[in-house]
Symmetry: C5
Subunit: 100 residues, 5 copies
């Protein structure tokens, strides 16, 4: 899974039938601390994520393993909004909103 | 999913049986604003896209999740024509035709 | 899908059961005009391709979506021999045999 | 499969339904000797791995081939804790705990 | 598919249930002539390959298309031991054992 920040949305009136009504998010890839790195991802939304959220993206066939994306032609899905990334002990947590 | 511009078509008289009648598009990968970056993609068409269109490409097994591509040997499909990419608020929209 | 030129074959007497009798082609990746770029691909053959042919390779699970490769452990298949790549209008066609 | 060290965990209260109760590990990719290289992986846990463990990660659809991850939207899973990597003969084993 | 040389094995007592009894090989990626290039692969064995063998690795979901790997969490499998790679005509064969 990939760390990312939601930074926008895609507007497309001509979409494949199975995608109608699905929200497509523009996401900037980040490192484990939420700092932006190279690369964008367009991902379907399965958790009601919005702009600014620090999220996890699942890619590949697993992107269809949610109620919102089953049998749709999407290869990436936002499937979790991250509260914190706990790195090592003692806890050096990266809390929600960090790196915004 | 990947941003791309449709720039051509593939002509192939010898194709695997399941591909007969399927349109294969040559697409140039772009960034979120439609500016070309390295890399080409050959993708089947599921939305009637044509040259110059700013589109989304789905790769992997998800490329078979359209009426046009089910059970065909394609690993990429154009499944949306992009009207606009809305980045952040306030709206800095990338409208159709931008970056042509 | 990936552009490639067929440049050889793989000889392997010890093969997984499901691969017996399958032809494995050595392919050099090319750009859309048939010029060689970095990277080799070993792909099963689904269209009777031979050395020198300018072909399309499908990778991933889609490589099993042909009569020749169903349920075999192959992650790449040659599924079309390219006659021409038509780039933009006016037609700057890359005809069969180009870039050999 | 990829070599990695477990270095943390992901806390996410808003998760896709099928992920509830699943542990998501932050892993640092390593070489065959356990030395860190570029790249992080977030992977589900299928073997009770904890921080500091030298593990194998499986990616793609295979990540769902465990009792813990079947039908969940995960594209990576920790499916083995490595005791040793035996390279060539004579045995130059990389034992558990090496490279920590 | 990827060219590789088998250079070792992975010892892991804590493995996901479906992997018990499966041999995991450490492989060094090579070019078409057997010369080592960057990158390691850990792959399940489906053909009785051993250290020093010049092999083909299949990745992704296709890695589960062998009797040894069906429904197991592996994303790479050794599915052929290469005797020779015949490049172009006249035959410039890379015979078994080359590049060792």
């Amino acid at each position: 899974m990939i760390f990312a920040k939601v930074i926008g949305t895609i507007v497309a009136s001509q979409k494949e039938e199975n995608l109608r009504g699905r929200k497509l998010l523009l996401c900037k890839e980040t490192d484990a601390r939420g700092a932006p790195i190279d690369g964008y991802h367009v991902a379907a939304d399965a958790v009601g994520a919005g702009e600014g959220d620090f999220v996890l993206i699942t890619t590949g066939s697993a992107a269809r393993m949610t109620d919102q994306t089953g049998k749709t032609p999407v290869d990436a899905v936002v499937m979790a909004i991250i509260d914190a990334v706990d790195i090592d002990t003692p806890r050096i947590a990266v809390r929600k909103g960090a790196g915004k």
